[in-house]
Amino acid sequence: MIAAFPLVRQKWTNEHLMAALVVVLLCWCLPVFVAQPASILILLAMVVLASVIDIVGNLLHYKKLVCSVSAVVTAEVLFLLTSHMSVYLRLFGIVVALLLGKHVWGGTGKNPLNPAVVGLLGITLLLVAFPSVGLWDAPPVAAFPMSWLLLPAVLLSLPFLLMRPYAAISWIVGATVSAGLSAQLGMGSWALFTLFLATMVVTDPVTVTKNRITGGISALVMGLLANPLGILGLNILSFLSERTKLLMDRPSFKPLRFAKQYEGEPVFLDLTEGGTDSPGDDTLPVSSSVILQRIAENQVFGMGGAAFPTARKIQSLLDSPAPSKHLIINAVECDPGLIHDKWLMQHRFDDIQKGISYIASLAAFESIAVATKNPDVTALPWKGIQVKTVPAIYPIGAEKALIEAVHGVRLAVDSIPAEAGFLVLNLQTLFAVYEAVVGNKPITSRFLTVVNLFTNRAVVAHVPLGMNIQKVAEAAFGTASNVFVGGGQMQVCIAQEDTVTDERLNYIAISRFPDYKESPQCSGCGLCSLHCPAGLDIKKLTAMAEALHKLPENKKAARRRLEKRIERDHPERCLQCGACSYSCLAGRNLSANMQTLKMAYKQN
């Protein structure tokens, strides 16, 4: 099965972040470079050695060249932590950092300990074992002097606090208390050193937990030690916390918000033979039984993308033992690429309202509400229908998310909304209900959004089902190259020559290929889980899925153990919204992995 993917992705990548870190760390090195220009060569030697080890390590792990900028970051951090040491000790530290701090664990993203601090530990142990090895053969240079030269570094470092704010600030608090107790508070260089560790080392997302409680408490305690080696303690506690789920926060969810993206008003394009004339006389009274019969016989289906038979959904609601029944018209259109429902509301309002009245007559609904993210909709002349404005976040249009937003009711993950008394119908479905009841003919066409992302233009197209996609794209924009299709901008596949419009299709786009680098190096930023509306630990699930894929088939016991671990994290709850793929800084199509897991566990 070909996996869908979001057509647009966020612009930031791990490489951007690493490059920014390299620049900021160079700013921290400025006083040392000015005081001792020869130290530039020492840093260069450390960077070259780190890069060579990292490139070789990555080639062994991944069998291909991958970005090694993180090794440069390690070299710079270690350079600053070892300003009082000889070049040989520093190079030794680099070898320990990259080999024992990183590659022995599997490479970037898999190391539980900060490599630079592991390198520092290696040097410390060497000096304990062999004190005669010696330190600096020239006067040491203070790495964190009270100097205006460090002002750019300080200012540029502050945004990095956002990576792990609780851990970083707790570290600063712990170190401050310790400094106060040891009467070092007045020393500016101490403050700069603490800020450096808090922003450049403690905020490493790979080795410090994103959990606010564990990260905060661990960093506070380790900060009291007032020693950079305390960061290793923070790393170990983070690792244990993530593995044992001790003191875990409740998962937090930050929904994605998208800006309006099309220029000008959308054009309407009718590619059907029958056009959009009225299907018949809609003033004639129709009984409930005839309404339901015509919806069933004319095969009205959910136009939101799931294509579920509407008659079956209505019957589930009618058979539901729920004490109260509610109708929600889903006019949210939360996928950022879609505009046809909005167009329908503006141009087919009366027909939709009639469709709603047909559905309303089928049951004694306690409430009938149209959910929208567009406040202008309240100005339309709705009759007997509440308008509920919901936040313009993605994916609030998902059925259960919408029920919670409109009624404040959170349904169980495996529950069926219609059976719980909630009938959620897409706006275009109600238009189809109108056409089916009035015209009494099968649904053979649909409205969808056709866009050209090269020119940022959109077209609302009325197309017959079964029409070739390339022809639709050519009719809309005069070109049929780089065509993508799907339920929305967040779930597309590449259109083949013979792909046709069907019940699930909402969106056709002419666009650049999105840049999925598929880097094997996960930085542990946690954005995938943060933006997951189902609250899944995406990073953990996809890592386990990859481990399962690598396990030979004959290792049945090991595979079964891993499968049980995966089951405990409920991959079947994935909504396939694509938010994880959109957010991933490593450029990975995570929703494809989740789709595979979800299907495998649904079958089991």
Partner: protein, 139 residues
């Protein structure tokens, strides 16, 4: 031998012979980079089994139309046969990945095919590829 530049593949369509199904990253990046410039790419690989995100044709007979330009990502030993087949289909220009082998250049000249050697990423790729293209004088 012609000089490879953006003008060389200007016709709006391109046959991609040797699109890799296994070690896919390089082929995919070339396919996408060229497609992103509005050129319709027809990938061909005799081992295509239909189980691929994009349509890969098994041979030239499957193609809905034969473009005038072709890009070959093949081993030098496989190129003469491919050039012969492409010549029979009316291909006018061939771009070979890397250096154009002398025997292929001679063969193309005999068949009246304009041939060049180079990497499409120098012209159509972004980032470091742009710099490479600038150094090579193709941008």
């Amino acid at each position: 031998m012609a000089k490879f530049s953006k003008k060389f593949l200007e016709d709006g369509e391109l046959l991609f012979v040797g699109y890799s199904l296994n070690n896919n990253a390089f082929s995919k990046s070339i396919y996408e980079a060229i497609s992103n410039h509005g050129i319709k790419v027809y990938p061909v690989n005799p081992k295509a089994d239909g189980n691929h995100p994009i349509k890969v044709y098994k041979d030239l007979t499957e193609l809905p139309k034969i473009p005038k330009n072709a890009y070959l990502l093949l081993k030098p030993s496989d190129m003469p046969k491919a050039v012969e087949d492409l010549g029979k289909k009316g291909i006018k220009k061939i771009l070979v990945q890397g250096k154009l082998p002398d025997d292929v250049a001679k063969q193309c000249s005999t068949l009246g095919i304009e041939a060049a050697g180079g990497c499409p990423m120098m012209v159509f790729g972004g980032g470091l590829h742009k710099f490479h293209g600038f150094l090579a004088g193709v941008r």
